[in-house]
């Protein structure tokens, strides 16, 4: 039995060490947050970091074990560490295999609401000017079916898409008649025009409804003026009816954040709870279209919004601790990226960016955009993300257009200044449309970017909860698990 060797005999295998790529950020006096190539975080002191970088570490000293388990070092001749990183990176980037899974059809620009922040809609009864024609719709469908994704989602938007319900019906029927792809449908509507005919149609065709709910009645109605001032009442009634007829998981709600929302996050969340919804997406105010024109966007900055977000997230955690499962969906997306390698192709959280590669938007008049925000920019005269027109273009000519390739290749976080060395890069995303809109440049200067400030703020907050509040951390982990 003397043939057994002592632990020291096996450190020899790793005498010859190499560093693996990692990013870092100073988080306090001599404290560092470090992330490996796939975004696993560990904390190191300055002393530890220096020893690591100089490879002054050895098996048994604790730091070696920490760095090895976190894939910061490898034996120079070893392969498994690098292969693990490669396999995980491949999984994380798996969303790239489904190219253009989302197709947005703007079936009309008309709307009976007149929301001050709305980026695009028109109060008009002129159908011929602002509705999508059947010819345009069928051309757009050709393009959608030419995309490589095997399963696509067709989302109807407006304006208020139900104002052109006949075209929705025509597109659904035509899409179902085609073969080769599985198709899911969503109608994004304020539900004011929801009636039994529409509900029956949704039920028969398994269509999801997505609506707007900005909070309690006074806030919602202030955000969303319409004749009669009853937007909230109609939305809530619509949600209830839709849940009854279609099932509770077949209707979702999105909120728009305005300055008036910023002090009311608890009320907003309570409203969502009260309507029986299973979570909320605490969104920033978008800087596009009329929102910029009306100076809404400038009214509050990222820090103010982060305060709103943190208060909201803590309220949501409270609700969970009291026994009601309820999610904040943006945190859930980020946590899935931070705690797993499942491929998340959410448009704002990916690099290469989701513009075009994740979604195409077919406007009522046949012009095609790389994203919904790109269409809103065009309303203010900026055609940077107008890729072409259904009459002249094919799927390939749109996706391979210089505009799209330029925007995507110039905004990659993997090689952008600031992003490429950012400790959060693995979980963040390129948002060329946002940075073009706010800075006139698809890449943007990240220290000046509110998008960047929000990303850093939210991920820092999530990490803090994961590390320091065990009970809340368990809730957050559940969100990432499914």
């Amino acid at each position: 039995m003397a043939r057994f060797l002592a632990p020291e005999a096996f450190s020899a295998a790793t005498e010859d060490l190499s560093l693996l790529p990692f990013n870092l950020e100073r988080t306090g006096t001599s404290q560092y947050l470090v992330s490996n190539m796939v975004g696993d975080f560990i904390r190191l002191t300055e002393g530890e970091l220096n020893r690591l970088v100089d490879l002054q570490i050895q098996p048994g000293d604790g730091l070696y074990e920490k760095a090895y388990a976190a894939h910061l070092v490898t034996g120079t001749n070893q392969k498994a560490q690098r292969q693990l990183l490669a396999a995980r990176l491949r999984s994380r980037m798996g969303f790239l295999q489904q190219v253009t899974p989302l197709h947005i059809f703007v079936v009309t620009l008309r709307c009976e609401h007149s929301c001050p922040y709305c980026q695009v809609s028109r109060q008009s009864t002129d159908r011929s000017r602002f509705d999508m024609s059947e010819e345009t719709a069928m051309r757009a469908l050709d393009i959608a079916f030419a995309s490589p994704a095997t399963r696509i989602k067709i989302e109807f938007q407006g304006g208020e898409p139900l104002l052109n319900f006949p075209m929705i019906k025509a597109i659904v029927a035509a899409a179902k008649a085609r073969s080769g792809k599985k198709v899911d449908f969503v109608i994004a509507s304020n539900l004011a025009l929801l009636d039994d005919v529409v509900l029956e149609f949704c039920k028969a065709n398994n269509i999801l409804l997505s609506t707007s709910l900005d909070g309690p009645a006074d806030l919602h109605n202030k955000n969303r003026p319409r004749p009669g001032g009853n937007s909230h009442e109609l939305a809530v009634a619509g949600i209830r009816r839709a849940r009854e007829v279609l099932g509770s998981d077949r209707v979702g709600a999105l909120m728009t954040t305005t300055e008036a929302s910023l002090d009311r996050v608890d009320d907003i969340i309570d409203e969502y709870l009260q309507q029986g919804l299973d979570g909320i997406f605490l969104r920033p105010l978008s800087p596009f279209g009329f929102a910029i024109k009306t100076k809404q966007f400038a009214k509050y900055d990222a820090q103010k919004w982060l305060g709103f977000y943190e208060r909201g997230l803590r309220r949501v955690l409270d609700i969970n601790r009291q026994g009601t499962p309820f999610r904040e969906f943006y945190a859930a997306l980020l946590l899935t990226r931070m705690l797993s390698d499942r491929p998340i192709g959410y448009v704002d959280l990916r690099s290469p960016a989701g513009a075009g590669l994740g979604a195409l938007v077919y406007n009522y008049d046949g012009s095609v955009f790389a994203s919904d925000e790109g269409r809103m920019l065009a309303e203010t005269g900026d055609n940077a993300f107008r890729l072409g027109h259904v009459d002249q273009d094919s799927y390939n000519s749109l996706i391979l257009s210089d505009k799209l390739i330029g925007a995507i290749s110039s905004s990659l976080t993997q090689c952008a200044p600031e992003c490429s060395t950012c400790v959060y890069e693995s979980h963040c995303g390129a948002d060329p449309v946002y940075h073009h809109a706010t800075q006139g440049d698809a890449l943007g200067i990240k220290p000046l970017s509110a998008f960047c400030a929000r990303q850093k703020g939210i991920m820092g907050l999530l990490l803090d909860i994961l590390e320091n509040s065990p009970e809340d951390a368990a809730i957050l982990r559940r969100w990432a698990a499914s």
């Binding site: 039995m1 043939r3 057994f4 060797l5 002592a6 632990p7 005999a9 096996f10 450190s11 020899a12 295998a13 790793t14 696993d40 098996p59 048994g60 070696y64 074990e65 090895y68 388990a69 034996g75 070893q78 392969k79 498994a80 560490q81 292969q83 693990l84 396999a87 995980r88 705690l339 797993s340 390698d341 982990r477 559940r478 698990a481 499914s482």
Partner: protein
């Protein structure tokens, strides 16, 4: 209790001398199944022996301590073994060595725990190995297994191949697995291997080409750090090859189980190991966290390896938590309920093979005995200080009444 799986026949006759060994399958005397050359009528009394002869059985296997009188007219093959092998039954398969009269039970049809030892050779030398490696030419074992496969009931639910390192003679072993695909396509086949051979892509390709619909490679990973694993398995570079092997198997869509044996070198870091597996290898099909079987090298290294499960149960619970939160199917093997935190109970499995499974006196008072792994009876069993009969909640309700139960936990 421990079933005796090998022994020496008290008597044998009629075996030809041009072969050193035979594979023997037992059949009930009145069995109407098609007879194979390897089939022996299983008789326990003189009456049964006579009935077997009447039924024209050319080969007879007797389990009895008494003397069996055979008519002088019988000139077929005969094996007699003592009564302590009375567990043997219809459909069981044995290997029998002609000159030494030694036999080993290879397959028990009524057991859920059948395993074939492939070889005693291994390129690891684990500190706690229950089957200490020997550097001998034992390739005859593989031939014996090849001979046995056609005799195994195709309805068998599960079969394990173990070693030594099962992939020591890779080509021959893969041929055996290929035969399993053809003969036992519905049987769950589990292969215990240290996984190092799979660092070689050609071997992984050959493994994939077997195409058995229910084949699993069960591979040990003892730590998230190379030198800790290498020390446990006493082989430099093993961690790198093993992890690489797992990745290559999964890359080709093969089923993989990770096994972590818990002892004083691996149990104190099990939380970290569990988190590491959850983060890096969540795509494996199963993770088994296993209590130590105190036999083989584990006895020699007892001072280095023994750790009371009570002292690592917190870390174990956290590891189980990390793994299940990541969607990994995780089980805990070989650890009795009473030493495990309640959160781990749903993962605790009655994993100890029936032939070496036992309980202690305390267990007779325990409400969980029927769901408990109990203990190994092999080697030199060690018992946790935490072994304590458990009273289930409704039991407390009976003895203490409603009020005390309501205020209890």
């Amino acid at each position: 209790m421990t079933l005796p799986l090998y022994g020496t026949a008290s008597h044998s006759a009629g075996f030809c001398s041009d072969k050193a060994r035979s594979v023997v399958r037992l059949r009930a005397v009145e069995s109407s199944a098609e007879r194979h050359a390897a089939d022996f009528a299983l008789a326990r009394t003189s009456v049964e022996v006579l009935r077997a002869i009447e039924a024209n059985w050319p080969s007879i296997f007797v389990v009895s301590d008494g003397s069996i009188d055979l008519p002088s007219t019988f000139d077929g093959r005969l094996v007699a073994v003592p009564l302590k092998y009375n567990y043997l039954g219809d459909g069981d398969v044995l290997g029998f060595d002609h000159s030494s009269k030694k036999f080993r039970t290879l397959f028990r049809r009524n057991s859920a725990h059948n395993s074939f030892l492939i070889t005693e050779r291994c390129n690891n030398y684990c500190l706690m190995c229950s089957q200490p490696p020997k550097d001998v030419d034992d390739r005859w074992i593989l031939s014996e297994i090849k001979e046995s496969l056609p005799l195994i009931d195709p309805a068998t639910r599960a079969l394990t191949f173990t070693g030594g390192e099962t992939l020591s003679d890779c080509e021959d072993f893969i041929a055996v697995l290929t035969e399993c695909r053809d003969r036992l396509p519905t049987t769950a086949i589990q292969v215990l291997t240290n996984g190092r051979a799979f660092a070689n892509s050609e071997i992984v390709d050959a493994w994939k080409a077997i195409g058995h619909p229910n084949l699993m490679a069960a591979i040990p990973v003892y730590a998230s750090v190379d030198h800790v694993h290498d020390h446990v398995v006493q082989a430099k570079g093993a961690f790198d090859e093993t992890v690489l092997g797992i990745l290559k198997l999964k890359d080709r869509g093969q089923r993989v189980e990770i096994r972590v044996v818990l002892h004083a070198l691996t149990a104190p870091i099990i939380e970290e190991t569990g988190r590491w597996i959850a983060r890096n290898l969540p795509f494996v099909d199963h993770v088994a966290l296993m209590g130590l079987e105190n036999t083989g090298f584990a006895i020699a290294n007892d001072a280095m390896l023994w750790m009371d499960p009570m002292d690592y149960s917190d870390g174990l619970a956290k590891a189980v938590d990390y793994l299940s939160a990541a969607g990994v199917n995780v089980s805990v093997y070989n650890l009795p309920k009473c030493v495990l935190p309640k959160s781990v109970w749903p993962h605790a499995v009655q994993s100890i093979s029936d032939w070496k499974n036992g309980f202690v006196d305390e267990c007779n008072r325990c409400d969980e005995k029927n769901n408990c792994s109990g203990f190994f009876t092999t080697g030199r069993p060690r018992f946790s200080r935490g072994v304590r009969a458990i009273s289930s909640p409704h039991h407390e309700f009976d003895s203490r009444g409603l009020a005390s139960t309501a205020s209890g936990e």
